[in-house]
Symmetry: C2
Subunit: 127 residues, 2 copies
Amino acid sequence: MPTNEIETLIDTLIDTYCAAWSDPDPKRRREILESVWTAGATYTDPTVHAAGIDALLAHIGTVAARRPGAKVIRTSRVDAHHGVARFAWRLVQADGSMLPEGLDVAEITPDHRISRIVGFFGQLAKE
Amino acid sequence: MPTNEIETLIDTLIDTYCAAWSDPDPKRRREILESVWTAGATYTDPTVHAAGIDALLAHIGTVAARRPGAKVIRTSRVDAHHGVARFAWRLVQADGSMLPEGLDVAEITPDHRISRIVGFFGQLAKE
C-alpha cells in the first residue's frame, strides 16, 4: 500500500477513535469503538487504566456524564512509524471551552486497529 | 515509597539511559545500559527497531560513529504514570549544535528498569 494511503488510513483510525469519545449516545460510542479497538486493547491515562472495550466505554461514560456535550478533537498530525503513532488532542466542552492539550501514543496492529493507547495530559514541562 | 522519591528514581533511570547514548566508550555504554535495560527490552524510533541490549548497543555505536562526541540530554521533566513515562531530549553534537528535540515514551517495570522505549523525532506538526 502506498505510504500516503497508509497515512490516510491511520488518520481515519485515530479520528474514528476520537469520535467514540465525542458521541453522546452510549450505543453509538460502542459501535464506533468496536470498529477500531481490538479485543483486549488497553487505554491508560493519568487517571485510569482500562483493559478491554467495556472498561473503556464505562470510563468514557463517566467523562461524558461529567462534561455533557464534550468532544475530543485531534489537534496535530498523526506521526506514525513501526506500528506506533503519536497525536495531540483536546477536549472541547459544550460551551466551546477547552481543556489543556493531551498527547496520546497508540499502538496499531498490522490490520489497522488500535491495541493500546497511552495518554498524557497537558504540555510536557521544561526541565 | 513517597511520590517524590519515586520521581527522583525515575528521573535518575532516564538520565542513566541517556548517559548510555552519550559515553564515547562502547564498554562503558554497555555497563550503563545494562544497569537500566531489561533482558529483551526493545528500542524503536523512526529509523530503527532494536530488540535486546546488543541490538541497541550496535545502533548507538552506529550513531556514535556518525556523530563522534555527541551527547543525548534530557530537555524536559519526566512525566510518568502507570509505569509509562514521556520525556523530551536532544542530541547535542561535539560542536554544540543540536538536532531537533525528540520525544521518548519509556515503559518502566515495577523494579524500575526500562523494558521498552518508543521514540519520535522533532516537533509534532499541527494539523
